[in-house]
Subunit: 443 residues, 2 copies
């Protein structure tokens, strides 16, 4: 497939490619709505012996089929082996709650639409499983839907990547990683791969030029075969491919010139995590705990899926509670400070918040993100509020709005595997929420 | 196989049967010692791409082979899917630390031995991975070995059962479960099985008479096939057996008269958990969280392995931090009180601590436990200190000594699948520790 076609496919704002067919289904009408697909109502996996038609399993692929995903994304550990990302053993950091009951009525107009919508309506329209809005560090809004609860470890999918990207910037800030160093010099196992002469920063910014089609719905795409290698999806019978993410990465070919443009490809994140684990001398899940998860007063361990040789899926395997996702976002908003103590170097956070090279960002691919950039595994809007985001397929996200002093954490189970499907609603809804909070009105 | 033979096989104090061959290997000399099998020294799973001979996997069964078990028991989630048992979101309960540096020298003589041994030596002799001694609620002694850390979720194996047993007694104390009710009346799915006419209490006390050989080393034993049904062990090619623990339980035949004698069989615990989940109307892992894990100020979520249909392995799948195991033991010691608040009904705890019918306990099978009883999934010594225990194969345990105001939590990776192998050292060591603490001497 020629290079230009692969990019054209990657129309998901998350970078997850939609087929022409899936793109045609961005009309909400093509899927039953949030209420009709409520996982409690549909009775998935209820009782001690769920009947066969209410069971969801990994082996038959049903765990990845909408509307079963409305249950499975909140119960991802049921399907894939995972290890813990420890919170440490210290006290839980307080998250003050000052709920505002006027926020459901916040109104906005979706992109390319004429009729307005309320915040509350947007949650259903986007198949939201859970959402929390922090304003100045206090919980202003918090809702859980379906089978998702405050204690649910919902899969974060690609929002995982932003944790990896921050750690990369931390190690660069500390001088442990050189952003211009080549992949092969850090990970000799990749010396024969297309990553070999890419730099750390090119991997972090996803400007590598590699043969890797991020099309979730094409059975032979690299992202599908990569998921099978990692046991994130069931393998075809007589699977003969690589065992594990890293073994797969070693097989990826070069395709073009590194550094020219941003192309969203999940495997970059695992290569970045591999370099991080190598430099730190411990498994990536332990680095994630030591560098982030154990420093923020998280209320629970997170979990991360692993492949068959125990490698965590840094590209999309994190599972965590919504409030802990919000704690992370708030620490980012405060430049690396939590409860008055420094958790991350200020420079690492500033580097991300400042964003990257907008000229390398394909605005035609991401129409809802004109003028944005992708920097160290974060999506930076460069809008008037300088908002930036961690984003995961099907609607996962951490949205940080420095100007409005707002952080939004969200889990979702949108039927379409690409944020292009929910961005036209989500992005103006978040902006409207920010403006409402800045106005400070209360009901 | 006649009834008497099966009982004769069950010589493990844990109830896990040893073959004659395994029993012959109870000489420590038959296995390399703790130091020689240190998992860090042996280099299991180290680095980002462990070499093939340092890998441990589920599929080839290596995760269950000593000395790899010295790594895998501390990393059990790497091998089997698990779900979380939530701690809730409240504060972590404080565990005051007042270490005593004279305890390593505590001396005792192992059963049937002539030479004395020190406490410290006992830890190596029993392949201890982690151990913590609470005296009057304060940490007097705490050690971690090999790859096990305070944040490790070590598999508890059958110590899991005692959590289930307590919940059963709680529901009986609350009148939600009737101890004389039949299994079939609560779980009609078991009406055609050998459990049908057993009572709740007979299941809890393991006095059911069923055809179920608890011999871990015999490939065709029921416990092996049960583990395969639950995906706790890899299945043979062309596996045609039941899918999941409950489906297997429905196939178990009756063999004798219920209520006559205690015979340790893991499947009783899952049947008890099934009744509990049915009565409570939620998955067992949620009951475990609601009734225990979220009430004690645990510092982390626990995890529990699941079968292919999502049923947690109540008979042996719990994974938790050592300190949280100790918190549970301490709450039991205080009759259900934690931090001055009541977590469990006093009657439920008292019922367990008082023990069961010693005449139903096969003392020839458990020579180190003469005069003991098995009550509601707990091992009750009826010794001078009224000590009682949660016990898991390979040396897991929670030991509660009310007289000495002592609780010991331990994780281990003993090569032999039966506590008969470590009891001759463990039990006198614990008694000597209790006496040392009662004397109150300090170095």
């Amino acid at each position: 497939m020629p290079h230009i076609d692969r990019r054209a496919l990657a129309i998901g704002a998350l970078g997850v490619a939609l087929t022409a067919n899936a793109a045609a289904q961005t009309q909400p009408a093509a899927f039953p709505d949030a209420d009709a697909t409520d996982p409690v109502r549909l009775g998935w996996m209820q009782g001690t012996q769920p009947p066969a038609d209410k069971r969801i399993a990994f082996e038959d692929g049903s765990y990845f089929q909408f509307p079963r995903t409305r249950w499975s994304f909140s119960n991802w550990r049921n399907f894939i082996r995972s290890v813990s990302v420890t919170r440490g053993s210290g006290p839980v950091s307080r998250l003050p709650v000052v709920l505002r009951n006027d926020l459901d009525a916040v109104g906005f107009t979706p992109l390319s639409a004429s009729a307005p919508m309320t915040w509350r309506q947007s949650l259903d329209a986007n198949y939201t499983d859970a959402i929390l809005v922090l304003h100045r560090g206090r919980v202003a809004y918090e809702r859980y839907f379906g089978v998702t609860t405050p204690e649910t470890q919902h899969v974060a999918f690609s929002a995982t990547k932003s944790f990896v990207g921050l750690i990369g910037q931390i190690l660069i800030a500390e001088g442990k990683l050189d952003s211009s160093q080549s992949v092969a010099s850090l990970v000799p196992e990749l010396a024969q791969s297309g990553f070999a002469d890419a730099t750390v920063q090119q991997v972090a910014d996803m400007t590598t030029a590699i043969r890797f089609d991020e099309n979730y719905t094409a059975p032979q795409s690299e992202i599908r075969r990569y998921s099978e290698a990692g046991r994130f999806r069931p393998r075809p019978e007589n699977y003969k491919g690589p065992e594990g993410y890293y073994a797969f990465a070693a097989t990826v070919a070069k395709d073009g010139v590194h550094g020219e443009r941003f192309t969203y490809r999940t495997i970059n994140t695992d290569v970045l995590a591999w370099m991080i684990a190598r430099v730190e001398g411990k498994p990536f899940q332990q680095v994630l705990a030591d560098r982030i998860w154990s420093r923020l007063g998280m209320e629970a361990d997170a979990a991360i899926t692993i492949d068959g040789v125990g490698t965590p899926f840094a590209g999309g395997g994190l599972m965590a509670r919504l409030r802990d996702m919000a704690r992370f976002g708030e620490t980012m908003r405060l430049g690396g400070i939590v409860n008055g103590r420094r958790a991350f170097p200020a420079g690492a956070v500033a580097e991300i918040a400042a964003g990257g090279d907008t000229s390398k960002f394909p605005t035609t691919t991401y129409p809802a993100l004109r003028g944005a950039s992708y920097r160290a595994q974060w999506w930076v809007t460069h809008n008037a509020h300088s908002a930036y985001m961690a984003r995961g397929v099907h609607g996962q996200g951490i949205y940080i709005d420095p100007r409005a002093e707002m952080v939004i954490a969200r889990f979702g189970s949108h039927p379409i595997a690409g944020n292009a499907a929910n961005d036209p609603i989500t992005l103006p809804a978040y902006q409207a929420m920010a403006e409402a909070l800045m106005l400070g009105k209360r009901a």
